[in-house]
Structures are given as structure tokens and as C-alpha cells.
């Protein structure tokens, strides 16, 4: 198979980065490692979202701007804000070197091997923003005690939980979406807020909203946090303002607000909301517990997205990998505090195992499969909804009952 120089260049860049890891940078090793795993996921199943994005590449490349939001040859019309359209436009200029045919609006469901390669690589490369954002977030997280052991440092654990996030891998690199890039923007804006660079944080969030409007879910949290910590701070003599927002949980910083409002929205892709919670989770044991319940349940709720047989071992192995690592590493981090889960929570989480066995290995061989094919989906949704609602409730309670954290702590 003759490959083109473009692919060679891509692989050479990665190879050069690999050589740099010889210098011992664990962060770079983690980032490169997950990138290589993403490359291995290239031949996996992809959903109709693949055709959606191919269509948008075609629309933005072949048609004038005035037509972008009117074009309807394909059923997958452009329904993301303009910045995303520009993003697809930019990608389309690289796409033409891989396969010109994918940029034809009439080539519905066109998926040559080069198209697949380009699309998959575009997700992998735009994840660079996510990697950078994780790097910035890690700078804001400091271990309270000096840990000699690398694997016990909060920075390390946070990096693994973010970079190797199961939900992102499954949704972005198998199902096919660009969430990594978008979450990168969001994480970066949060990191800037942590670093007291409020204007940058606000700007980045505004930009993000123009990429994908679903982030409106967290806009209230951003708004309130910025108002309270940037516009009306305690130093300035604005008594009216502080009485306007007497009980809102801004002491915790931007994250609980965001998480609270996000959960309030009952987001469809539950696992993704756990991303923001990750930053809190390496700080406090109570939050770690909520995070783990939310993440594990949320990730399991993504299982129905991948219903093909070859992907079954991948989703189970990666879910086990992520879950075992996250629970064990956080347990180790907080081993001196009370246990992370009570018996009820433990029982609930362990129940995911039998649920999966029933839905994927037992049910298909029963007689109900023909009559009630929706039962596995129903059971999964209901079971996960219980867990997520419980996590949301627990978070709200903890945010209101925990003692306020001093502002200087978040330097």
C-alpha cells in the first residue's frame, strides 16, 4: 500500500515526539500513549456522525457561506453555530489532500479508506487542544503533601483521568465526534479562571459557545461566578451585590457551579459532565466519591452507543481499565480519610456488572428479544438515571453543607 507524504509527515511528528519522551516527561508519555491508542481505534465502528461531519466538510468547502445553513441535500444539515462551520471549513482544506471526493455535497455516505483516515486523524489532532488544556489544569492542582511516588501525585492521577477518559475515547474516537477539542476549550477557560485570568476565561467560554451551543447549560454558572469573583468582589464596597447572591456556592470556585448547573440540565451524555468534576475530585475525598459514582454510571450509560460485536471487548476492557484505575487511585490518594463509598453505593456500582452480563450476554438469547427488544436500553437508562440523580443530589448537599473554602487556597 502506497501511502502519501501527508501520512508520513503525521507519523514522523509523532515519532519525533516519542523520541522526546526518552527525556522522561511522564505527561508527554501519557499524552502520546493515549494518542497512539486513538490511532488503534481508527478501524472501529463509526456512527452516522461520521457522515454528518463529512457532509459539513463538503458544505463548507463547496458552497458559499450564504448557503451553509440552507443546504439540505443530505438529512444531516449544519446545526452547530458558525465557529464550528468555520472549523469544518478549515479542516476541509486539509481534507482535499486526502480525498477530494469527500468534499462533494452529493457524495452521500461516502467513506473511502482515505476519508476515514482523514476524519479520524482530524479528531486525534484537534485533541491537542484538550491535551494543552489538561496541562494547564494540572498546573492549578497541587498535592497537599509532598509525594515522592509519581503515581500518587494528584497531578498524575488527574492527567490520567482526563487524558485517558473512557467517555471521550468511546464517543470521539469510535462513535465519532469532536468533543475533545471542545472540552479542551472549556477546560482551558476553567483553568484561566483558576489562574485568576478572568477575561481570558470568559473570552474562551464565549468562543466555545459559538462552537457548540450545548454549553449554554453551564453558562449560568459561568455568569454567576464571573459576576461574583470578578465584577463584584468582596474587596470592592458593593454590599448590595453580596446580598443579591447570599447563598450561592461560589466559595467552592467555578467548578461546583458549573457542575451543578450542568447536572441541572440533565445532560444526555452524562459521562461528559464528570469531566469538570475531575478537577474537584483530586482535591477532596467527598467530591471524589461523587465523581466516581457519576463517572462510572455515566460511562456505563454510553454502552448502548456501541452495539457492534467487534467493539464489545473494547468497551468492556476500556471501561474496566478506567473504572479500576480511577477508584483505586483515588482510594489511595484519600486512604487516610473515611472510605469513599458506603455499602449502598458499593452495591449499586457492583450491580453494573450483572446488568451488563444480562443485557449483552443473556438477553439476546431469550425469547423476549423479539417481543421487547428495547428492554436492555430501558434497564440501562433507568439504572444509570438513578445513579446520576443520586450524585447530583449528593453534590448539591455537599456544596451547601461543606465549610467554605478560603479564596487564597485556589492560587
Amino acid at each position: 500500500m502506497r501511502i502519501k507524504w501527508v501520512e508520513c509527515a503525521a507519523l514522523s511528528v509523532m515519532a519525533a515526539l516519542s523520541v522526546m519522551t526518552g527525556g522522561g516527561s511522564w505527561f508527554l508519555a501519557l499524552a502520546l500513549g493515549v494518542t497512539l491508542l486513538k490511532c488503534l481505534l481508527i478501524p472501529t465502528y463509526h456512527s452516522t456522525d461520521f457522515e454528518v461531519h463529512r457532509n459539513w466538510l463538503a458544505i463548507t468547502h463547496s458552497l458559499p457561506i450564504s448557503q451553509w445553513y440552507y443546504e439540505a441535500t443530505s438529512e444531516w444539515t449544519l446545526d452547530y453555530p458558525p465557529f464550528f462551520a468555520w472549523f469544518e471549513y478549515a479542516l476541509s482544506h486539509v481534507a482535499k489532500y486526502f480525498d477530494q471526493e469527500m468534499l462533494n455535497v452529493h457524495n452521500l455516505n461516502y467513506s473511502s479508506s482515505r476519508t476515514l483516515l482523514f476524519q479520524r486523524f482530524s479528531v486525534i489532532f484537534t485533541d491537542a487542544l484538550f491535551v494543552y488544556a489538561v496541562h494547564e489544569c494540572c498546573k492549578c492542582v497541587d498535592g497537599k503533601k509532598a509525594c515522592k511516588e509519581l503515581t500518587e501525585k494528584p497531578k498524575f492521577i488527574l492527567s490520567v483521568l482526563l487524558l485517558w477518559n473512557f467517555g471521550l475515547l468511546i464517543v470521539d474516537h469510535i462513535h465519532f465526534q469532536y468533543n475533545g477539542f471542545l472540552f479542551g476549550l472549556m477546560l482551558l477557560s476553567i483553568a484561566r479562571l483558576f489562574q485568576k485570568r478572568h477575561m481570558e476565561g470568559a473570552f474562551l467560554f464565549a468562543v466555545l459557545l459559538h462552537f457548540k451551543h450545548i454549553y449554554l447549560y453551564v453558562a449560568p454558572a459561568y455568569g454567576i461566578y464571573l459576576l461574583r469573583s470578578y465584577c463584584f468582589t468582596a474587596n470592592k464596597p458593593e454590599p448590595a451585590a453580596s446580598s443579591l447572591f447570599p447563598t450561592l456556592p461560589f466559595q467552592e470556585g467555578p467548578l461546583s457551579c458549573i457542575l451543578g448547573s450542568k447536572l441541572l440540565g440533565f445532560v444526555q451524555c452524562f459521562g461528559q459532565s464528570a469531566l469538570r468534576h475531575r478537577l474537584l475530585s483530586v482535591g477532596k475525598a467527598g467530591d471524589a466519591s461523587i465523581f466516581l459514582i457519576l463517572t462510572t454510571t455515566g460511562h456505563y450509560s454510553l454502552f448502548p452507543l456501541l452495539f457492534t460485536a467487534p467493539e464489545l471487548p473494547i468497551k468492556i476492557l476500556l471501561m474496566l481499565l478506567f473504572t479500576i484505575y480511577s477508584i483505586s487511585s483515588l482510594k489511595t490518594l484519600f486512604r487516610k480519610e473515611k472510605p469513599l463509598f458506603n455499602w449502598m453505593e458499593t452495591f449499586y456500582l457492583l450491580g453494573l456488572g450483572p446488568l451488563e452480563v444480562f443485557c449483552e450476554f443473556v438477553f439476546p438469547f431469550t425469547s423476549w428479544k423479539l417481543k421487547y427488544p428495547f428492554i436492555p436500553l430501558l434497564l440501562t437508562s433507568v439504572y444509570c438515571a438513578v445513579g446520576i440523580t443520586y450524585a447530583w443530589f449528593k453534590l448539591y448537599v455537599s456544596v451547601f453543607t461543606d465549610p467554605p473554602v478560603g479564596k487564597t487556597k485556589k492560587q
Binding site: 500500500m1 501511502i3 508519555a29
Partner: protein, 507 residues
């Protein structure tokens, strides 16, 4: 062990990488009439399920030996039979006599890939984990990192889960054998190794070190007392295990002989295709196959192999230790690979396994060797359309080793285990201090050459007059690297003295 969760994560990661590689193409996919190794394995399930044992290795109207006739020992046949029973339960069309030839489907591919994964999970992976847990004098973190690197070794993953083979069974059994005899469970170790040999006859490459090590143990215990008892017990174990495996074939003399004829096809010549050993490389300039008569080829090959491996094996017999055993496994298998008869490029895995076992002791050289071993199989991997997984797994392996062992900082004489050798040479040449620097430069040259050759092979077309140019270049370059490693490993073995190195406890 503490941090069991990290070890579990490593195993899960290893399994994930294996399964994602298996999503790619396999040997001979969509290429009638012969297809490839995948079809061979399917065909053996067909033969072993539908025909009586007596006909498995014989040519007949139902069993055409020209079409992927069985050429592995009986244990492979039994394994195929076991898989065939499962296949029969799921879809009998997969192994129907005659009509299932060339059967290819998504479901069947899933089944075949699953059989490889299950075999790996049951045999090879636990052996690797146990080996890493039993390593002495290194931290838990290093043990886990060691496991990660071994499980990410690209060569084995690409051949088993890409090309399609069951090397993890034979290598896993051999590894159990190594673990057994290293921990003084000699009988169990020998049993495991005998099973390995009865799965794939190429495991005989490891047989001399096993023999030397166990014989050395017997000598140490005293040939008149316990040593003799041990010797007899070992002999009994070997005979018993071979008898058990070959029992159905001992009913008639013709049966056993025919199996042996299938296992050791001396008629097939010195080498086939392009392989990174001496004979193939020399034949670029000198057509040995045409110059030397057949029986002379066999004799020359036999003598050279024996000469190159004898020193290390003799030393192992005289001074048996688990460490010397592991190094001798490397040098012996490498000697066989370079000089033996009818070697296939996949046989490099027999050298890679022991090199994985010494990864924690000489990380720099081991990583280098394992990279070259994967590179040497490049033409085969490209033929199977496995470029992307090859490059990705090689990079992942490199990153894992570089981060876990800081290999570029471990290039001093002491760390390369060349101190005793250099000291000896310095008695005659006082200025001989530049060995580490030479080795570092050789490494850089080697890596650059491998990268360039890979790029050339995938982007350029070979000239019309030399269609095999790139395969020949790959195998010749790999052969040069392997010769260097043969010299290096033999130096370590021969110059390894008990007083020279810091005293490490013998397990």
C-alpha cells in the same frame, strides 16, 4: 502485591491493544486460492474435526497436504480440535469438510480472533505477570513497568493478532517452563517446556539451554546422589509428556515417522522467502543454494549453529544460574535463527521472548533488539496490510520502555554488563574506554536506517529490475543487527564472572 490495581490496568491495556490490532486484516485475507495462515488454522480445525486422528498428517483425498497440511506437532492439532468443537456449536459451515475452504466472514473472524485472545489470556499473560512479580531487587513500580513493556512488545501482538498465529501458546508454555526451572520447580518447568515443544517444534531452539541448565543443576547436586535422582525424574517427565502427546501416533511406526517428516521438512531447502539470517543475506552475493549440494548445506548449517551456541551452553552447564539461563536462551535461540535450516522470519519471536525476560537487566540493549526484531518482519506485516498497527505499537512500545527504564541514561559499561569485558580488554589496550560511545552511535545509526527503510518501503516503488530490493535491504540490515547482538550476548555470557558484578542473590 501493593498496587495490584496498576498491574490489572496494565493487563487490561495489553488486552485492549491486542484486540484493537485484531480489528485489522489477517494473513491472506481475500486472496484465493491459497489465502494465508488464517485459512491454514481454519483448515486445521476442519481436518481435525472431520477426519480420524490417523489421517491428520497423511495425504488423502479428504486431506490434501499441499493445501495447508498440518506441519506442527500434535498439541496444535488438539488445540485446533478444541476450537473446532466450539466452531461447530456456533456455525458448522465454518468447518464443513471441503465446502468451508476459504470461508471468510465478519462473524468467523471474530471467532478466530477470540480464540487467540482466550489462549493468550490463559497461558501467556499470566506467565508474564508472574515473571514480573517474581523479579528480585526492583521496586513494585518497576515490576509493573516491566510488565507493561513486555505486554506491549509489538512483534508478538502483530503476528498473533494481525497476521494470525498462536505463538502466545507455545511462548507462554515455554515461559512457564523458564519460570518453573528458575524457581526450582524443575519437574513442572520441564513439563511445561515439553508441552511447548509439542505445540511448535521451533521451541527446540530453546531446548539446549533448558537441557544445559537442568543438567548443570544435576551436576551441582552430585551425580551420585540427589543429582542422579533429579536426572532420572526429569528424564521420566520428558518421556511421559512426549508419550502423552504422541500416544495416538504410536500405534503404527509409519504414523510417527510421517508426523516427523511433516515437522522437519528438510527437503524444503536452506531458506524460503526473505529472512534476516545469514544464509539469505549471503545469498544476495553468493547463491549458496545453487553452489552447495543439499546435504552439504545441511551439514554446514548444523556445524555453524552448533559452534556458535556451544560456548554459552557449556558455560551454563558448568555454572548454572537463572540469570545465565535467561541470557543463554537468548544467544542460543539467536544462533539457531541466524544459522539454522528453514528458518522463517516469525522465528525471531523465539529470541524476543528471552530478551523480554532480561529487559529489566539491560533495558537499553533489550529495547533496541526488540525494535529490530519487529522491523525485521516489516515485509510480512506490509503484505498483511498492517502498517498502521505496526507503527503505532512500535511507538507505544518505545515510549513505554523509554519512560519506564530511562534507557538513554543506562548506557554505561556497568549498565550494559560490559564492565568485565572492557576491563579484560584494557589489560591489553589501556585506551579501550570508548565502547559505550560506539554502542550509542550504532544505536542511532540502526534506528535511522530502520526508519528510512520503513519510509522508503511504504512510499516508493522498487525499481523494475530489482522488485525485491526493499525486502532484501530490510532482511540484510536486520541480519547485521542480529549478528551484532549475537556477539554482544555471547560476550556478556562468557565474561560474566561471579566476582566482577555486584553480588545479586541467585534465586
Amino acid at each position: 502485591m501493593e498496587k495490584w490495581y496498576l498491574m490489572t490496568a496494565v493487563v487490561l491495556l495489553g488486552l485492549t491493544v491486542r484486540w484493537t490490532v485484531s480489528l485489522n486484516s489477517y494473513s491472506g485475507a481475500g486472496k484465493p486460492p491459497m489465502f494465508g495462515d488464517y485459512e491454514a488454522q481454519r483448515h486445521w480445525q476442519e481436518i481435525t474435526f472431520n477426519l480420524p486422528i490417523k489421517q491428520w498428517y497423511f495425504n488423502s483425498s479428504d486431506n490434501n497436504l499441499q493445501y495447508w497440511g498440518l506441519d506442527y506437532p500434535p498439541l496444535t492439532a488438539y488445540h485446533s480440535l478444541l476450537c473446532a468443537y466450539v466452531a461447530q456449536f456456533i456455525n458448522p459451515d465454518w468447518i464443513a469438510l471441503h465446502s468451508s475452504r476459504g470461508y471468510e466472514s465478519q462473524a468467523h473472524k471474530l471467532f478466530m480472533r477470540a480464540t487467540v485472545l482466550i489462549a493468550d489470556l490463559l497461558i501467556y499473560i499470566p506467565a508474564v505477570v508472574l515473571h514480573c512479580c517474581c523479579l528480585k531487587e526492583i521496586s513494585t513500580k518497576k515490576k509493573i513497568a516491566n510488565a507493561l513493556c513486555i505486554l506491549l512488545y509489538p512483534g508478538l501482538i502483530l503476528i498473533d493478532y494481525g497476521h494470525f498465529q498462536y505463538n502466545s501458546v507455545s511462548l507462554g508454555l515455554a515461559l512457564w517452563g523458564v519460570l518453573g526451572v528458575s524457581c526450582d520447580w524443575d519437574l513442572l518447568g520441564s513439563l511445561a517446556f515439553c508441552l511447548a515443544v509439542n505445540y511448535k517444534q521451533m521451541e527446540l531452539y530453546h531446548s539446549l539451554p533448558f537441557f544445559g541448565f537442568l543438567l548443570g543443576k544435576c551436576f551441582k547436586k552430585g551425580l551420585k546422589g540427589k543429582g542422579f535422582v533429579l536426572f532420572v525424574k526429569l528424564a521420566g517427565t520428558v518421556v511421559a509428556s512426549f508419550t502423552l502427546c504422541w500416544l495416538p501416533f504410536f500405534t503404527e511406526r509409519a504414523q510417527a515417522l510421517q508426523v516427523l517428516r511433516r515437522l522437519f521438512p528438510v527437503d524444503r531447502g536452506l531458506f524460503e522467502d526473505k529472512v534476516a539470517n545469514i544464509w539469505c543475506s549471503v545469498s544476495v552475493f553468493l547463491k549458496i543454494k545453487d553452489i552447495l549440494p543439499h546435504h552439504v548445506q545441511i551439514i554446514v548449517s548444523f556445524c555453524l549453529t552448533l559452534l556458535s551456541l556451544l560456548p554459552a551452553c557449556v558455560k551454563l552447564t558448568l555454572q548454572p544460574s537463572p540469570k545465565a539461563f535467561r541470557f543463554t536462551l537468548v544467544s542460543c535461540a539467536l544462533s539457531f535463527f541466524l544459522f539454522s535450516f528453514q528458518v522463517h522470519e516469525k522465528s525471531i519471536l523465539l529470541v524476543s521472548l528471552p530478551v523480554c525476560l532480561v529487559l529489566s537487566e539491560i533495558p537499553f540493549m533489550s529495547t533496541w533488539f526488540l525494535l529490530v526484531s519487529t522491523f525485521s518482519m516489516l515485509p510480512l506485516l506490509l503484505k498483511d496490510d498492517l502498517l498502521m498497527p505496526s507503527v503505532v505499537t512500535t511507538m507505544a512500545f518505545f515510549i513505554a520502555c523509554a519512560t519506564s527504564f530511562s534507557i538513554f541514561e543506562k548506557t554505561s559499561e556497568e549498565e550494559l554488563r560490559l564492565k568485565s569485558f572492557s576491563v579484560s580488554v584494557r589489560k591489553h589496550l589501556p585506551r579501550f574506554t570508548f565502547l559505550p560511545r560506539i554502542i550509542q552511535h550504532l544505536f542511532i545509526i540502526s534506528v535511522i536506517t530502520m526508519v528510512l527503510l520503513t519510509l522508503m518501503t511504504v512510499t516508493l516503488d522498487p525499481p523494475q529490475k530489482l522488485p525485491d530490493l526493499f525486502s532484501v535491504l530490510v532482511s540484510s540490515v536486520s541480519c547485521l543487527n542480529f549478528l551484532f547482538f549475537l556477539v554482544y550476548f555471547n560476550i556478556i555470557i562468557m565474561w560474566d564472572s561471579k566476582d566482577g558484578r555486584n553480588q545479586k542473590k541467585i534465586h
